[in-house]
């Protein structure tokens, strides 16, 4: 069975990393060269541990070559509350933009997966823990609305530390905004598939990430509302084995299927070919 064909537009971006950069797999302790890890879609070649995958790499991995039309690429966050803690929000945004090369924590756009057109959003955990502020909320909402307009399915690949507290209640309201857009998409009988990756928590798990027509998750991804430390401190209770993992959530009925990263593209296509009936 052909599981996965790597997109061919791999070449023109900078892929060369300085030699001597090794990462230790947190699951099996294998030392893996960064380049090898990246070429293996950030999955440990020895034990299949799924590392955090940058959004650009995931988009390349998932979509048909040269079909990704990015939307709202220049949208950036603003410091409406003039938030100053130990570091100001503005400074923090600037440093993450520099570090990741991203404007904010989500990429959105139309694309094709094995010839099937859809709206795709991919969150990037490396950008302020992919917390959801106005930009994430607005880009997702626009993508869902445009997909509703064009009668396209929506796939959102989530990873998030929750709401972006630097934007106060404005960030909280993005939960309502994105779910509202999904309600209208759903009313048009268009499919929405949620893909939860490590970690998907807080306000993102409590909004768009858990209400897919189909909910998928990557192996061992941590998914939950509250962090395990908070739960332990609140309840003075030991947490069950495997608590808040993707597998735990599948066994408790929230996740339809655990899907290996290398099979995600084919799985999405297969599911959408059932759910999305193009007249």
């Amino acid at each position: 069975m052909s599981i996965f064909s790597r997109p061919s537009f791999y070449s023109d971006k900078k892929r060369e990393l300085p030699t001597g950069l090794w990462q230790k797999c947190p699951a099996c302790s294998e030392l893996i060269h960064n380049l090898e890890l990246q070429q293996n879609f950030r999955v440990c070649p020895r034990c299949d541990h799924h590392f955090v995958q940058p959004a650009t790499e995931r988009v390349e991995m998932l979509v048909d070559a040269e079909t990704f039309e990015e939307h709202d690429a220049n949208m950036v966050s603003v410091d409406t509350l003039k938030f100053t803690g130990q570091a100001s929000y503005t400074e923090r945004l600037r440093s993450y933009q520099k570090k990741t090369g991203l404007k904010d924590a989500v990429l959105t756009g139309f694309c094709q997966i094995q010839g099937l057109k859809l709206g795709l959003a991919v969150m990037d955990f490396n950008f302020i823990a992919a917390t959801m502020g106005s930009v994430v909320g607005e880009k997702l909402t626009r993508l869902i609305e445009r997909s509703t307009q064009e009668r396209l399915p929506v796939v959102i690949v989530s990873a998030s530390g929750g709401a972006r507290m630097y934007e106060g209640a404005i960030s909280l309201m993005q939960m309502a905004k994105t779910c509202g857009a999904l309600s209208r998409h759903s009313a048009k009988r268009l499919p929405y598939i949620s893909v939860m990756t490590h970690p998907t928590t807080g306000g993102v798990s409590a909004s768009f990430a858990t209400v897919g027509d189909v909910n998928l998750a990557e192996p061992r991804a941590m998914v939950g509302f509250a962090g395990p430390r908070v739960i332990r401190e609140t309840t003075h209770q030991d947490l069950p084995a495997g608590f808040q993992t993707a597998e735990f959530l599948r066994d408790h009925g929230l996740v339809d299927q655990i899907v290996h990263r290398k099979q995600m593209r084919e799985t999405l296509h297969r599911l959408l070919s059932y759910l999305h009936n193009i007249q």
Binding site: S77, A206, A226
Partner: protein, 319 residues
Amino acid sequence: MKLQPLEFEKPVLDLEAKLADLRSSSAANDINIEAEAAKLEEKLEKTRHEIYTKLTPWQRVQIARHPARPFALDYMQLSFTDFVELHGDRLFGDDSAMPGGLATIGKHKCTVIGHQKGRDTKENLKRNFGSAHPEGYRKALRLMRMGEKFGLPFVSLIDTPGAYPGVGAEERHISEAIALNLREMMALKTPTVAVVIGEGGSGGALGIGVADRVLMLENSYYSVISPEGCAAILWKHRKHAPEAAEALKLTGQDLLGLGLIDEVISEPLGGAHQDQTAAVLNLRLAVTKHLDELSEQPLEQLLETRYAKFRKFGEFAGA
């Protein structure tokens, strides 16, 4: 019940004690001290005014959490009439942290639900300190849908430190319960009003808060994270909660200024617990007024306006 004073209320309390002392000694010794008492009373009024009209965000958070404050069931029984409690989510259980049912306010028969705290340890164990499990949110959705079916508007009374962070809550998918409400409330075919009466703790508050009109009591707060939680992360210590409360812009006035809520309902001086009768009446008048307006609107317009209201929340540049 006896009101437990907050730290910043001490000057008021001291003066009240002095005045009481003076009165009792005067009664005992039969001395005329009217002039002195009047002076003290004047000072007391001035001090009250000075403290309570210039409350900092952190002081408001403390009032919002005051155990003597009217709670959801107080409003359901006093601002509303003829409250009939309905239990259970029809799936797993009944969440006592979120009682609800049928009630009448003004001329409006509604479904109503709210987070309920307890005033003592025993009651708080029952009410789980106002932190609901998935069953609370699912009961809320059940009541909303019943109201939709029978043409009853929906009113929610928000007062929670947050949805419960526990093993059972996670096992039964508190995230999904909240998320589903966010999605379904946006499309609910009946007028909806949400009132933050105390603590508006994050997703646990929003989970019954997607409404045509969102109102806040003067000394309530509504925030993405508790001031203590925010301080622990961004200032590395909970003792910076007052600064975090300031930075988060969590008071009714702040959120009205940001356009995120529709009205601030005024409270008696010093907080709703100082004069429960007045607080109950203020809430009744405000909710009734909004339901009067909303019930005049054609359904399609109501839903469009609701969507547009939440749709515009967000501040960004470059697009």
